[in-house]
Symmetry: D2
Subunit: 387 residues, 4 copies
């Protein structure tokens, strides 16, 4: 009997992060993949990730609308509660042998609780890291609900163990997002025209002359500042006058403020945004290719920390969102003022390309995860281990 | 401005456990108490704890029906999801400055998530302990979602810290359940007639000749065995032929099996249960008084571990439910067979009374908790601390 | 392309009522059956109808736990809300061409709203009847949400039309419950031993000497009286001293009161219930066979009104639950006092067998429903038609 | 004892519609007002109606986030289910004597079901009207769940009665929206500058030279066409080259398409929208004043049918949304093509001002509603009455 492995995907970046693990599970002779798509991953406003998943050859076993609307944090709590109610039904109908929850988005705890409470062994990807904001609480709560741990770094492994987890159930696999980066890096040319393929708004520009990429999400514990923070970055980028691809934020408390601030800036400072092109979404490979060919990634996306350390891309990391996360020599941190941001970008552009750092894996995380899922003893009982 | 402290009570034993803390918060000049009653605490089937709470002089600010029916574990997950959805609304309307979540029942994580996601500082009572079953996962996940920790034992304190919590936010207060035990122990005579006051079913008996008390809950990770396990205990007790007070289990996956098994046993083996009297519920003080005057407490309730260590009451602790919890010299553990249970009770009855052990506190936990709530810096941001 | 017909079954009696329609849909060359089982139909406490459905050869496409526990009416509202949330997901995944909602239980409106709001044509079975209690509101609200109407009586048809429905969409099919009754009536001998096959509690008796059957549900608008009402019936039946099969009530606000009152009566008046045997549940055919061979059906079940009019079985109908429903000459109504009930039973036992009445159909409702589903124009748009 | 009247407001237009009834209830000596704000009425994206309600002197007793996000219809169903779950808790805590549900938005049925199932008498405002789309089903289902009916027109009254309602419980009050219109009409001058007071986007223009107002909502049963339909209207208005105030649509399946289409049009055809100014929201009095001073109202809002018949304002009513609703001589209907719309507006602008029509009331509906709430017998039991 194949083990039924149920992966719950709740957002575009989560999918990007586990795609190679999905593929490796799908191809493993002892595993059967069940794919559940939920939360922002089923919403058109966030690029309807479910379409990409199907296009990539995965069958969707259940899809769940669960995002409760609201510009404040009550909506995040309710979304998670609604997701828990519904994922319980989904698991009751799909009857998986093991469930996978990914990283630390707030709604991932729905997956963790549903599995844990239904006595289904739970595997967690990307535990043991340290950042800021609510993600921090969610990630470690996921660890305490999970039975199997697939971690990205050696330090993450030791942290998960020091939280009382059984060392035999903690697997260093590297981060599966690196797998995709490693694959794309083998053939890195920008083999598509982003303007033609993805539309977006704003003017087109010549890609050969160099460009920046910006991806800045609201920080949920600072969401009242979201509009101000993004506006500072907008000013910094507009001052730099370098062609820039800008990605809209994902769904989070504060994302409406962020989106609203971007829209206002474009209305009010139209000529200042002439060299910026805004995208909603991009296929993960294309996104990586875009970054590989960029001069610098700016914002607070974890892509700057993970994939870019492997890919040797200069990164300006703004604010607190990635605080505490291990980083390679490619990252330069800065605060939220337009001045700091601008200066940091200029510094990065002057430096020579940073060396590759394998701290987040060497490109075979998906296969390692599938192998562990096929061979690990599956249990839903555990006890905190005193050290 | 007084700090608004919102306590969410989801079950009768949880209320018993924090009652003195509620009182101390209510009386503290810098605190304002908000009381939310939810889950089994609003259900008649489980003794409608909300009535006792009001009788004790606490005003209920919101009550929430959230228990989804089901004899299997999917219901526990859904109950928690529904509770999360609703508690978010409750907190949105009550706007507390700090929320308290109690111990480790599965639905307590609803409280924790709602508070954490809404950026309300969260205090957790009774973290850092180790047991079996799903409670284990819930308790430590609560710890990772909480900002303030009120722990019962010194060992619990060191465990919470080793999980990465800031030592300054971890307060050893002792367990507030000991406060009540300490108060009752000052004047321990059985000053009420349990048959008259609480009704129940089964024959009456002479309290002067000594009696046992049984309280055995289903273990959620073994819930398929719940009927068999309770039946073994029923046989052991009926064989002993000592007058016995038996308490129905609280609401949990498996409690219907347990209740059903008790009902069947009473139907089929009517004469064997002649010396057993069944109660649904009892006021906490009365319950403690009943135990203080008993010869032995049998089952798997945490009362046997906590209150009874302070009260010097012999306890026969059955099965895995309290595995890993620190215990005093009053506890004798045994397995689930009727033979083992019977033998353990006989052993305890022969021994002299065990000495008092203060490992779970010295009777002022409620006041310590209130004092900490009034003075601790309140924050909803934290980071795992490497040790 | 076959039309996908999704039937949502939320309770045992609903299943009994539509079983022949399910079979006819399953066998129709132009239809594909989707079966969803929800609410009390998935709960063991109510006989886990889902097992019977599978045993009858239907594949269950989704099952949904949705019953929120509570002895009061807030639970009925929440159950319905939770069901609506979940059935929306189920329909989103199953993508039916038409959904069937059955009769008037409170939770059936979840099905109706989910379908109507998702622009899925909705067919309603058993509209246009008149009774008491909340069912009355639910039934007619279902009618106003539905696009196709399969009614049981000619009077029901004219009522649905006078409520503004398009006469072309209102089909007199008869009630499918009559189909089963008609089939069983062809070979009515009691070909099983109820004590052996169904267990239950209470003493066994000789079936040859005649027996009564009681089935009395709580009335949701009178649920505070539920315990008193059932106790009156218990006294009436115990006074009659005729062997009696008694069925536990289905899940409704008030059913816990009813069940509790039955349990208390059995405890307190044990010898008075010596000639009563209590069952939880019975396969529909067996239940009909039991009734056909009984002397009288007592209580407030719609079976007394519908099936028994076709089967020529004397019925004592107690209280308001069936008020307004058309009835044949087999029914004698009475109030809730033990005296009235006893007298009514005695009257019925003295009379000769009542004639058959076909007002609820002639036994081919299932086939008529399937035929209409295959041929009717399907639309989710309608307007109230002025008459 | 005052009767506690609980009004649930779920959207900005609903509030506008019942504001005078709220005021009359608040001022009535025998009534106590409870105000619950939910759904889009608590969302900033839809103008955060709750702020206006408080500014108008009403205390909000509970607010409920319940909108589930989704561009398709599954979200409407889930929103309604979530609302039902939460409103049950709200009513359980507020314990109203009568609940008021307003008109026919999809989520209003949450209010109706929660009240009906909890045995709370339910009053429905604006039953008995006939339109297109899902509102049609919702409105009449609300009627069948309600015990008291406050209708706007004589024809509506006769329809509610012909659906089987008790004529004594059907009150012709007129529509309370007319009350506000009547009050504003007494002093109709445009006493504020809309550009200054409400901001919005687009160019300013001279109000003295005449202007149009557009308000067009997506039609839920045609939501795939929403973008196309609004684009046609955009072309028609841009061709007319008359200064125009344009209001964004309210939250409904399809509103994202509508909003998106407006945004695209503004991007692509920037110079064509030079004479259009876009608003999110406006205080009801200001909105009425704006309309009174306009040359023509265009779109599919019910304001065109109701208030404008009283106010003698020419209206171009587009498409099917208001189909079946009674209308005065001020309304000219047309289809969705830009050509038809443009022609209809031109026709209206050429005609002389239409006469006042009182079919929707004479301006004292709020007082009539309060009086009926204070004096009507309150019951939650009813039966369909055959005619």
């Amino acid at each position: 009997m194949k083990r039924k492995v149920c992966v719950v995907i709740t957002a575009r970046p989560s999918y990007a992060r586990v795609k190679t693990a999905l593929k490796a599970i799908q191809e493993h002779p002892d595993l059967e993949l069940q794919t559940v798509v939920a939360a922002s991953a089923v919403l058109k406003r966030f690029g309807k990730t479910s379409h990409y998943i199907e296009d990539d050859g995965f069958k969707i076993d259940a899809s769940v609308h669960m995002v409760v609307e609201g510009e404040n944090l009550v909506a995040a709590a309710k979304t998670t509660g609604l997701g828990l109610v519904e994922l319980a039904t989904v698991f009751d109908n799909l009857k998986p042998d093991v469930v996978i929850t990914i990283a630390d988005r707030y709604e991932t705890i729905s997956t963790s609780i549903a599995a844990a409470y239904m006595n289904i062994p739970l595997a967690h990807i990307q535990g043991g890291e340290v950042t800021g904001s609510i993600d921090e609480k969610v990630r470690h709560a996921n660890t305490k609900l999970a039975d199997l741990h697939f971690v990205s770094t050696q330090k993450a492994k030791s942290r998960v163990i020091s939280m009382g987890e059984n060392p035999e159930q903690v697997y260093w696999t590297g981060c599966p997002s690196i797998d995709l980066a490693a694959a794309v890096a083998k053939n890195p040319a920008l083999n598509f025209n982003p303007f033609d393929k993805y539309g977006g708004v704003g003017s087109n520009f010549d890609l050969q002359k160099g460009y920046l990429v910006v991806m800045q999400h609201p920080v949920t514990t600072e969401y009242d500042n979201a509009a101000r923070q993004i506006t500072e970055t907008l000013y910094a980028i507009s001052d730099l006058e370098i062609p820039t691809f800008w990605f809209w934020p994902n769904v989070d408390a504060g994302s409406d403020q962020t989106s609203g601030a971007i829209r206002s800036f474009r209305e009010l400072e139209r000529q200042r945004t002439n060299h910026i092109h805004f995208f909603k979404n991009m296929e993960p490979e294309d996104f990586l290719r875009l970054i590989i060919n960029s001069q610098c990634l700016i914002g607070n996306s974890s892509v700057g920390i993970r994939e870019c350390s492997f890919l040797s891309i200069p990164v300006v990391n703004i604010g607190t969102r990635q605080i505490g996360r291990e980083r390679g020599p490619n990252v330069l941190d800065c605060g939220h003022s337009r001045h700091e941001i601008r200066k940091a970008v200029e510094t990065q552009l002057k430096k020579s390309r940073p060396p590759q750092d394998l701290l987040y894996g060497n490109g075979d995380a998906g296969k390692r995860i599938a192998a562990a899922l096929a061979s690990a003893p599956l249990s839903y009982e555990k006890q905190l281990q005193d050290r």
